[in-house]
């Protein structure tokens, strides 16, 4: 039945069908007062239904068709996009240059592997000005676990600012006059931080991100650390959890595409039983694993940290080592190893 595909509530659909309106054509030429009397609903509700019906009946105004692009246009668009560097050249290499905007990237691993460190590094790196081959944008950091330490952000920001002034010192003549290099405090100002304490808060925040980003157009990255925390414990209804998570995933995808920003989700590790052996994978189950465009799994290899591309439509499955230092994420140099617990 054609009224089945209108985005209205189930009770309204039921009322429409029992009153005999099963096709869109029977609705489009109706007046709201007549419909409201037939269905015993308010006139405003009747007006909304008729508006949806008339939009569905004249297909040339469908927004989905107008937003379509051919592969050729997208190929050229892709080449213009700057990627967000992770400050580790090896990691950037396997990512094809860095974290790409317009995609949802999921990064996960066991505790202590450096997920929050990568999150903070990306929140700082997105602010590198365009002149220094960065994006010059702001960051939104959604903290669900309470692991966002401002002192650490300041430390990483200081190191980033120092590196920028060192690398671009000789090109100072090229910078337009009046351009001041960023101070560490400026980095902190451009990170918008939210602390969520329950899954309802998390979903409410994701729903309102659209409005928030419309007001702060310079935001180029949204980091959620971590998406699993509030969904993993005390959830009785698994079917509800799957529905909520997949709805949230779609909204984040839409956000990434609409505002051309990168969405980075940090996830916790879990064990998966496949082919008779336990394998390291990420939490929230099989249905969540389809919610991201790219997935990176972080793991220990002996005493060194490695990142492995688990899922990507365009990148090869490769590993690269990286290190967590006092200035943030950097390339692995052989003596930055895991601290041995005595």
């Amino acid at each position: 039945m054609e009224v089945g595909r209108l985005p209205i509530s189930a009770t309204q659909k039921g009322k429409l069908i029992s009153a005999g309106y099963t096709s869109l054509s029977s609705l489009s030429s109706l007046s709201p007062s007549l419909l409201s009397r037939d269905l015993s609903i308010t006139e405003t509700e009747a007006l909304v239904i008729i508006k949806h019906a008339s939009r569905g009946g004249s297909p040339s105004r469908s927004p989905a068709i107008n937003g379509a692009q051919t592969a050729w246009e997208m190929l050229h668009e892709e080449e213009l996009f700057t990627r967000i560097t992770t400050s580790s050249a090896d990691l950037d290499n396997i990512l094809g240059g860095g974290i790409s905007c317009k995609e949802v990237t999921e990064i996960g691993g066991i505790p202590g592997i450096g997920k929050t460190q990568i999150g903070i590094q990306l929140a700082v790196n997105v602010q590198i000005p365009v002149d220094c081959r960065g994006l010059g944008g702001k960051a939104i950091y959604i903290d669900t676990e309470g692991s966002f330490m401002v002192e650490r952000v300041l430390q990483i920001a200081k190191a980033c600012a120092e590196e920028m002034s060192a690398n671009y010192d000789f090109s100072r003549n090229g910078l337009p006059s009046g351009q001041v290099l960023m101070q560490p405090q400026d980095f902190l100002e451009n990170i918008i931080c939210y602390r969520v304490c329950s899954y309802t808060e998390q979903i409410a925040l994701v729903n309102s991100l659209d409005k928030i980003i419309c007001a702060h157009r310079e935001v180029k990255i949204v980091i959620i650390d971590s998406i699993t925390f509030h969904f993993r414990q005390d959830f009785d209804d698994m079917a509800l959890r799957t529905r909520l998570l997949s709805g949230m995933a779609l909204k984040l995808m839409k956000l990434a595409k609409k505002f051309s920003l990168a969405v980075v989700l940090l996830n916790q590790a879990a064990n998966k039983y496949t082919e008779g052996s336990l394998q390291l994978s990420l939490a929230l189950g099989d249905s969540w694993s389809h919610a991201c465009t790219n997935r990176i799994i972080l793991y220990w290899n002996g005493n060194e940290r490695y990142a492995y591309i688990d899922k990507s439509p365009s990148l090869r499955s490769r590993s690269a080592p990286y290190a967590v230092t006092s200035s943030g994420i950097r390339n692995l140099v052989s003596d930055s190893k895991r601290m041995k617990m005595m």
Binding site: M1, G4, R5, A10, K13, A19, G20, Y21, T22, S23, S25, S26, S29, G56, P59, S60, S62, P63, A64, I65, G67, A68, Q69, T70, A71, W72, M74, L75, E78, K102, E103, V104, A239, L240, T242, R243, L244, S246, G247, L250, K251, M253, K254, A256, K257, T274, E275, Q279, D286, S287, S289, H290, A291, C292, T293, R295, D310, K311, P313, S314
Partner: protein, 313 residues
Amino acid sequence: MPPLKSLETEFPILDSNFRSFCASHGILTVEDFLLHDLHALAAHAEEQPSSERLRQGVDQVFAIIDTIHQPWINGMELLEDAQKNKRALSTGCERIDSLLNGGLHEGHVTELAGPSSSGKTQLCLLAAANVAYQHKGGVTYVDTGNSFSPKRIAHFIGQVDQKVLRTVMNSIVCHRVYDIFTLLAMLHELEFRRKSQMCKGDGGVSLLIIDSISSLITPILGSNSPQGRALMISTGSLLKKLAHEYNIAVLVTNHTVGGNRGTIKPALGESWKTIPHTRLLFFRVCGSNTCDVSILKHPYVASGKAAKFTIHD
């Protein structure tokens, strides 16, 4: 089917007299008409003073109903249609083509189910590139997870002249869809365009890919209201209708969930199982680029047949 009073403008014979006669028997819409005992209705109509007009009204309603249902087709016509209009589109991977007895068949809905990172999106991209390049058909790619990669498509097409590359890539159109209602609107738009193009001749879409349909349906499925399942089934039947009437091959991807005793099975449940004509299950051998594909359901190839393929760079 509309209520009778809205038909009065088009068919003046269904005037208020006719309608009040029908209303006295509980008939308010064309649907009620079909459910009623027509002999009894005709007998009652004879007893009325304006029986001639009432009979004409009844005949008119029958004429309206005749225009609504699909025409009868016999087996020979179906066979002719299958041989002439419905070709098999090669996916670009020989092993999978031989597994599927030719490739993706126009008029059929093929489903690729598999756990994450098992090669489903890669096969979709390969099929899109191949159909656009070899078969010169239009491709509509509906992407729900921002995983359409034009770089990969260009790679699959290979080293060709820039002009050729441009023409081929221009025939692949990518739609970003993030909820089921937009998908339904888009499919109806596609149907509307094809209906108006049918008279003009060929040159439309030959391959429709939805990657992945499960991410659009999972948020609405399973709650207490049956609305989710109703939307899933109506999307499925719309896809089958588009495939059959406009000779399009439809390719959808689905994810998997855990079944009994650790086996994996495709998501979306029992009701979805009847929608695709062909179902393939993907499984990636861990730590390598090889994937196993096996047939879960096919109109004329035995289930259980399997093949391996490798994802190259």
